[in-house]
Amino acid sequence: MEYFIDVVLLGLLMITGFAIVRMKSLLAVAMLTSIYSLLSASLFMVLDAVDVALTEAAIGAGISTILMLATIALTGDEEQAPRHKPLLPLIVVFTTGAALIYGTLDMPHYGDPAAPVHRHVAPTYLQDTPEKIGVPNVVTSVLASYRGYDTLGEVTVIFTAGAGVLALLGYRSRRRNIQGREIKRLVVLRVIAKLFFPLILLFALYVLFHGDYGPGGGFQAGVIFATGFILYALAFGLGNAQRLIPHQLLRIMAAVGVLIYAAVGIESMLLGGKFLEYRVLADDPVTGQHLGIMLIELGIGITVAAVVLIILFCYVSRRD
């Protein structure tokens, strides 16, 4: 049965890929990439990689699509005719593809228990997580504790991306607010958006603080949190959304998240441990791990949410 689902999903992925290449309307391509991400998320779900599936669904199918649509709104939605013959790119693509397929010949078979990836550090992580970290979700323990340095790097990359977009595109503040009689238009959308706005934020907090026990964590939670504000901006306009969460605050939040993360590392150094060694944070090592993971997930969530909103608002505010 699982085999059948795999074949169907992979087949749909291939069809979507070809459709993306063939389409001329960029709007349709943006929607198709969203479908592609959703299919990948389902595939990850079948593979039991729930955290990755949640991330792919939230970021790939959600935020990336909105960013692409925002870009298309700035640039126009027709693909330009290519200026050169497709022969050279085709040769490059085929050679690269052939090389990649040749490269996979050396790789161990799918699901092979003797594959290096299953023998190197993975068994240690799986065995030690319950007693040393005490977090049921091993993905979170690897991401936040064992590989805490990497994740700090990732959060810094996200922060840098936000700063880069801000430096390149700049930001124009809009003063126009929708109020009075104008707010009575689009009433269905606005009422529902208002109804769901707090629920989305609540769900984001659930995903953030439940990351130790189930799928989720800072990255997904940050994106979901941002989605709440994006829904608000879509329904009520950018001016109102900016009144709700001012741009200055977003800039500060983007930095605060990274700083919280780094501060946890420095705090553990001050308490006599190594950088990001959470077990010194409390009397009991397991409690310390819990505390450290929760704090850095909070930091990740704040930065991700702020950066996503900064990028989107920068894009949208250019359209006048």
């Binding site: 689009l186 269905v188 959308l189 529902i192 109804l195 769901f196």
Partner: protein, 105 residues
Amino acid sequence: MMAPVLDVLSWVCLLGGAFFLLVGAIGILRFPDFYTRLHAVSVCDTMGAGLVLIGLMLQGGLSLVTVKLLLMFYFMLFTGPTAVHALAEAALQGKLKPVVDEHEP
């Protein structure tokens, strides 16, 4: 005593949901213009997904899974029609004319 009844009920819901999803998909392909296609999409969203979720809830019994499915059901119940409504509104504002059969007496 109750278990077989619930099982049958849940399968009726699941198959009904699958039927409505299929009908909606055929509608999207076959209907002539944007507005009628939206109508087909809304069938997928409300009846199709709703019945499938109800069927899964009956399979889940009284558990946390059912509560989560109930929340999803509630969410779908609101977001599906709203999304379709917003799409239709946007199409109307974009001056998209519905296809009208002019040979009608």
